[in-house]
Amino acid sequence: MAEIVLDKVSKRYPDGAVAVRDVDVEIADGEFVILVGPSGCGKSTTLNMIAGLEDITSGELRIGGQRMNERAPKDRDIAMVFQSYALYPHMTVRENMAFPLRLAKVDKETVRRKVEEAARVLDLTQHLDRRPANLSGGQRQRVAMGRAIVRNPKAFLMDEPLSNLDAKLRVQMRTEVSRLQKKLGTTTVYVTHDQTEAMTLGDRVVVMRAGVVQQVGSPQFLYDHPANLFVAGFIGSPSMNFVPAGVEEGVLRGPLGDIPLTDRVRRLLTEAKAPREVIMGVRPEHFEDAALVEEHARAAGVVHRAQVDVLESMGSDKYAYFSLGGERARSAELEELAADVGIADLSSSGAGSLVTRLSAASGAREGEPVEVWFDPDKVQLFDPSSGRNLTYSGD
């Protein structure tokens, strides 16, 4: 058990590529922290630096208050679960799980007891004498977890441990991992590029982009108060809608019509010295079919009337897609997000598009106009040049 502190940690690879830049994160004892971000943003590099598998170029890593930069991996007392599981193919499941204990010179009886206990927790008891080659993907994944938990390390590091599993097994193992971590109470750093895993698993989420930490916070906080366009687009599924808008005398003018600015938003905009042209972000789930909204709430909100392009019924909800007139919101961060997450799927034409999530009771139909309603207070405004959230009221 220990807290992990990354103090201005940077990594420059020998070929000159800076993979991680000035990462400052403090992970409390027993906390479950997720590192999330698109491919190549430096998640694995950060994790490997904590593990000791990569040297730290500058900055300091402390585990349990002690400087770790120069310590070999084996002296850091942390366990790691690899994306590829990295099971020893010439050993049985039992031998795989016993390996860390045998290296630690634990006596035979204790090894047997601990391995069997871990096997019971992970439901591997009947597979103990099989070899990894004969196990299914999910079983291998559990063996990899078992090897990590047997010796009660100070911390667990997991690098996309579920990404080789099929969708159903992934959801199942996700709950498993979460349950296990709660039960053991061991500090855990978990890398993923899947925002659902990030939202559901962690106590706190660290969003990274191009080696730089964008924001650190609880999943709910990141969802409600993204610090910039990148985080706003990355967290939440489907992604937030982004449309260009202009700020003029207390109203926001854009393809969704004129939106009155609330006092709170107006105050924040003045504080932030907002430019006249901004990017407006509204989450799909903050829309509702106007016909289903109560009269006085409806009057307080904004109603937009448009023709439904595509309607997807999920049973529990309906997703209605609209195309908006005018240009699509443009920003370097959005381009990167679009490339990575594919949020620009529907709007490849260059015109803006809008995704809304409506109640299942909605009468919206494909090809027919419908009125959608949203609460203007839920709107987030971003600076198109820096990507900064102008309505950010965090802390």
């Binding site: 598998l53 590829s84 299914s136 599993l165």
Partner: protein, 285 residues
Amino acid sequence: MVLEVPDRRMSPEARRRAKWWFVNAVVVVYALLPVLWIVSLSFKTKETITDGRLLPREWTLENYRAIFGTSDFVRALVNSVGIALISTTIAVVLGTMAAYAIARLDFPGKRALVGVSLLIAMFPQVSLVSPLFEMERGLGLFDTWPGLILPYITFALPLAIYTLSAFFREIPWELEKAAKMDGATPAQAFLKVIAPLAAPGVFTTAILVFIFCWNDFLFALSLTSTERSRTVPAAMSFFSGSSQFEDPTGTTCAAAVVISVPIIVFVLFFQRRIVAGLTSGAVKG
């Protein structure tokens, strides 16, 4: 060997198999016939040796008795086994270390090292015989075990390095990281995780190197002068019949059969350890 006769009613699958049987049979006969011939000659008596029959009319162990009766041959056998085993061990150990470095590490001069070892492998050995002869005489290595072991290692090392680095490249090196995370020192990670996985490659290389050393004739002939270090291939060329006019065919063939046995034993022994697909199951689902 069973040769299926092609039949008009055979399915395409069966016909394809029959074709392969036929091709295999041709290859096997082509390769084995000379060997069978040597075996046959080694069991023939002096009188029937030129009768041209594959199956000896009269079987005799006379030739074997003759070669084991001379201390020369037994001594040469000991030399062969000793020299080949020592050379193989040293070449494989050094080759393993070099191949590990080549497969795993980036160090300055890596390309040069690989290039130089390739150069050695390509160097015509014949051109080295006279200089080696002079050098070994000067150093007092001529006609000693080390006098043969040293050049064998020199020429076996490139072979070992190449074979081993091909094997090492296939090992999932993430396992080494996993071992380090599990608390292993670099030495333990190598011994307990990497070495067992590399073993098939090491054994394969050992077989190849052993055969190379065992079969060498050129150095064995030119860098030795007495039974002190002469190996079997060289000793065989000194066989003579009981009289000047007698051809030592029978004894030579018997010796050839005898020196093939260790190779066969060696290969059969190590073949069991060459378990294909040992690394499967290490990674992915």
